[in-house]
Symmetry: C2
Subunit: 602 residues, 2 copies
């Protein structure tokens, strides 16, 4: 019920994106960061006092420029990898396995953070509109998370087309807001913002250093997240896939730059000061619309919706990337088969749990999560574009120098941002990602090595065919009852060499067994084992050992009647000995232990 | 290595007790309570100020009288139950199942508390001698606990005879101390005790109410614990068992009364005031011997030793009682076979964990644990003696009236103490036991009911013999490699009707399998299942279902090649699908799922 209907293979190709639906579905991550990017710049600048807030405009402009450069760089990736050019693939093909795995780790961490940050920001949009809910931020965030997770487990992605709604709703309502805001600003109708909430001014104002400006810049670069989404999803577009995807990317970049610069410029014009309990967008929204009217709530709702949608995209990206990595044997193979609902569900559950932990640990606060978010994003940006540069150089196709230059500039700029983020945000959480990436890469490699060794051991090389082997069936019994009779019936189907084994710990009980055996033994040999130490296990294991040694190349099957109880706690009352026997025989070659289930009614 | 050598059955009877060794081994619990019983009375009286401490002598005398009554009462139990008359057995036989189970619960809880209280008191004896260790009481207690538990797991009980040493050492050194103390007291050489430690006087002294005197009495009754030990162990004595046991009980009672009254009288004479960091025995010891000399340390050492020994006896009593209850099918049957080291080890581990929790929760403080201890003891006392009364009345053998009277007086007195304890100690922890006893009884009954229902279902009544049944072997494969080839070899030994099954999720891979099959298929039929939804599980389970329906009365065996990895974490990388298949097929009748192990080197 939770998992929903599977998708037949033959339908998978029908759901191709037009430019409009591609834009709607793949750009939510990139566009939604408009909801918090400007605020992140302002919050950092505020450390040096309100007088330094004017810097938001120049910093925002640099970031907008950077966004265009990266968009052009990724446009080339789309054409080079019409089959989908995720950072993992591009880095692995052009830079080697380790850089590929670094990109993969960065991306997986990124998806987790996309979920956490987007939900946190979505909740902030809600609590800005309804300040009384601010104290319940974490609970609200977890509620959103559970909603999205369950939706995905139920298979919400099947109805992809409805995702077009929030994106266009956001573009429309945000665009309108910015137009009205710009009109009022240009016609001198700006009214100062009233707010009961406290601003984020620290008790002592710090000096405006270059480091602080760089930190503000680093925080603002969160506007750049999500640009790569379209290049990952090229094959999902209608043909000509690459061309459509590239055009969509350009439209998206244009929208993102417009919205981000619009918010940034108006935040400057309306002199928005970041506050504890209300987002910058909400303040701007109120200032422009003159209070909390219907249109105000609509803008807030559209912001929440696109942020939830952004979180939702990570829920299909994470299992997909995990399955690609698993198919390359760097992750457990049960994640590889995307067709199995289970592989997909595993991914969703892992992603939800990790995002949930982040939301709780960081108190559902967007600002606290940003330092972790940025690092992974820029690691994958840099590796992906660096890979493109090497690809141009290797292939030397016509015009490669220009192409390499575009990607090279992109790579250099993102590398610089990466360093700025790593240095300015190190103590605020970026170190977690710096530690986690090598840890993940190490595990990827260990898994890969293991699968390699297993493949070697399983190779059919030098394996010679054998004759049909003998199978001795041993049935340890603790009494004669229906479950034992059933196990004996089963034993007789397996082999002509069946031996029931009973350990004598009490002469009376043994005599009783002997008598019952004449009626129920079905002609099967009954071995009574002496037990001087009153132990049941030791004589039994010894007997199996001896039986196995009789014919070293043949099989010994140990049949254990196993009760399948109707209630879980009844397990504690049964099968303990069977479990012990299984454990003791697990490492014996050519010994197969089989449980013959006997179903109890209650 | 931890568990030691098992004991052969034919040796078990050789270790019979003489009166002396019986006394030494079975009386540690009863004698060791001398170490804290007087102190418990004094601590309660101190609540009403030092002026009320004189009451220790009358209260102690009542308790000593009670001890003699109970001893005479149990003397009769020994003669009536020469095969061992534990409270569980006596109550169950004479009063019925529920009272028997109440006694059993009380006893099991008691053993846990014997361990906790004895260790806590043993640690107090150590920290009284070495006050600097007082802050580490809990750690010391846990160290003792681990020592005893590991000793028992290793099989320390095999060398039972060395346990005679601590008991006689304690009797000797304590007797000497009391003699010297009495001599000094009678000759007027008493010197006031100096102590840096604070007395337990509460900030405001309470009035000396009857309730307080009853509380002091209830606490002092801890001196009575352990009297029943000999009546439980009658068959372990040399013949004539009952006579030897009865004599030993009388000797023990005499010793216990002498020591307890000796300590109580001298504590009064030397005006000992209970203190936070030094036991009453240690203060008395110092006062009599004039400071911490070699003999002082010897007395403290002997006290610690007998307390540790008392804790140790619970380690053989607990698993023994559990096995008796399990044989009556009120506890999981894996506890029943005492011969198996494992049943015994389970008991020891459970006992140690529970005692460890108590020691930590109650801060390793004897005084805090006493309220929990007493209740169980007096429940089993009362039920056991009440059972004896009914037995006398039922059997009406010569002299039954006198016998019933002795047991009746015992039962009445212990019932009164039980009420006094339950009322005065309720809020201090006795409520925990009052809650736990019915909870345990409820579980005993539920387990019993379940085993009864299972026995019905397993009954051979109306079971008719069947012909040899057919067995269809299904081998799901995910490729062709050594583990699969081995599984096919094994499959061929089981049946002539073997079918390998492969789910087609990728036409290329399927073609490859078909080609390999011509070489490695061993003539076994290969079924290729279509999977429109790219799922592996669903077509497979459907195929097994259909195969099972072909011959509803016959068996279907599903063989799964299973990797046995060399390192535990490799489990995460394998066999996930096998686990799912097993889970999905667990409740299907006549379907047996077998893992054919393939051992990986690394």
């Amino acid at each position: 019920m939770l998992v929903g209907k599977p998708i037949p293979s033959h339908l998978a190709h029908h759901e191709r994106y037009s430019r409009a639906s591609g834009l709607a579905i793949l750009s939510s991550d990139a566009l939604s960061s408009v909801a918090y990017a400007t605020e992140e710049i302002l919050r950092t600048l505020l450390i040096a006092g309100t007088a330094s807030l004017w810097l938001v405009t120049p910093i925002g402009s640099v970031i907008a420029g950077l966004m265009l450069v990266i968009a052009f760089s990724y446009r080339q990736t789309i054409h080079a990898y019409p089959g989908g050019g995720g950072a993992y693939r591009v880095a692995r093909e052009n830079l080697g396995t380790i850089p590929g795995l670094v990109a993969a780790s960065a991306l997986l961490l990124d998806y987790v953070l996309t979920v956490a940050v987007s939900i946190a920001a979505g909740v902030a949009a809600v609590t800005s509109a309804f300040p009384q809910w601010h104290v319940k931020s974490v609970e609200l965030a977890l509620a959103f998370l559970v909603l999205i997770a369950v939706g995905n487990l139920r298979g919400i992605r099947e109805s992809g087309r409805i995702f077009a709604v929030p994106t266009f709703f956001f573009l429309g309502s945000m665009g309108m807001l910015l137009l009205v805001g710009a009109y009022k600003a240009l016609t001198g109708q700006i009214v100062p913002i009233e707010s009961a909430a406290a601003a984020f001014v620290p008790p002592e104002t710090a000096p405006l250093t270059l480091f602080l400006v760089l930190r503000a810049f680093a925080n603002g670069c969160t506007a750049l997240t999500g640009i790569e989404a379209i290049s990952d999803g090229v094959p999902a577009f209608k043909p000509p896939e690459a061309k459509n995807a590239a055009t969509t990317l350009m439209i998206m970049a244009a929208c993102a730059v417009t919205l981000f610069m619009g918010v940034t410029l108006l935040a400057g014009a309306y002199q928005v000061i970041p506050r504890q309990e209300e987002t910058v967008i909400s303040q701007l929204n109120r200032a422009i619309l003159g209070g909390r009217g219907p249109f105000y709530y609509m803008v807030q709702a559209s912001t929440t919706m696109i942020l939830v949608l952004a979180a939702n995209t990570a829920f299909s990206d994470f299992p997909r990337l995990a399955s690609i990595i698993a198919r390359d044997k760097f992750l457990p193979r049960q994640l590889a088969n995307q067709g199995d609902r289970l592989a997909f569900s595993n991914g969703i559950v892992i992603l939800s749990l990790l995002a949930g932990v982040l939301l709780v640990v960081f108190g559902g606060d967007t600002h606290a999560l940003i330092p972790l978010y940025m690092l992974g994003v820029f690691v994958s940006f840099t590796l992906s574009q660096l890979g493109m540069v090497l690809k141009w150089r290797r292939e030397r196709r016509p015009g490669w120098l220009g192409g390499a230059l575009v990607n090279g500039i992109g790579a250099t700029l993102t590398l610089i941002v990466l360093f700025v983020v790593a240095i300015t945000k190190f103590t605020e959480g970026a170190w977690i990602i710096i530690v986690l990436i090598p840890v993940l890469v190490f595990h990827f490699l260990a898994i890969h090595r293991h699968y390699g060794r297993v493949a070697e051991q399983l190779s059919l090389k030098d394996l010679s065919a054998t004759d049909k082997r003998h199978n001795t069936v041993v049935v340890p019994i603790g009494g004669v009852h229906r479950a034992v009779v059933q196990a004996l019936e089963y034993a007789r189907t397996l082999s002509d060499d069946v031996r029931a084994v009973y350990v004598d710990v009490d002469p009376h009980a043994t005599q009783e067994i002997r008598e019952l055996w004449t009626q129920w033994g079905k002609g099967i040999r009954l071995e009574i084992l002496a037990s001087p130490f009153r132990s049941v296990m030791e004589p039994l294991l010894e007997y199996i050992e001896i039986t196995n040694d009789e014919r070293p190349d043949d099989f010994v099957t140990v049949l254990l009647p196993e009760f399948v109880p109707a209630r879980w706690w009844h397990h504690l009352l049964h099968n303990q000995r069977a479990l012990l026997i299984k454990g003791a025989l697990l490492f014996k070659p050519n010994v197969v232990v089989t449980s013959v289930p006997y179903h109890l009614r209650d």
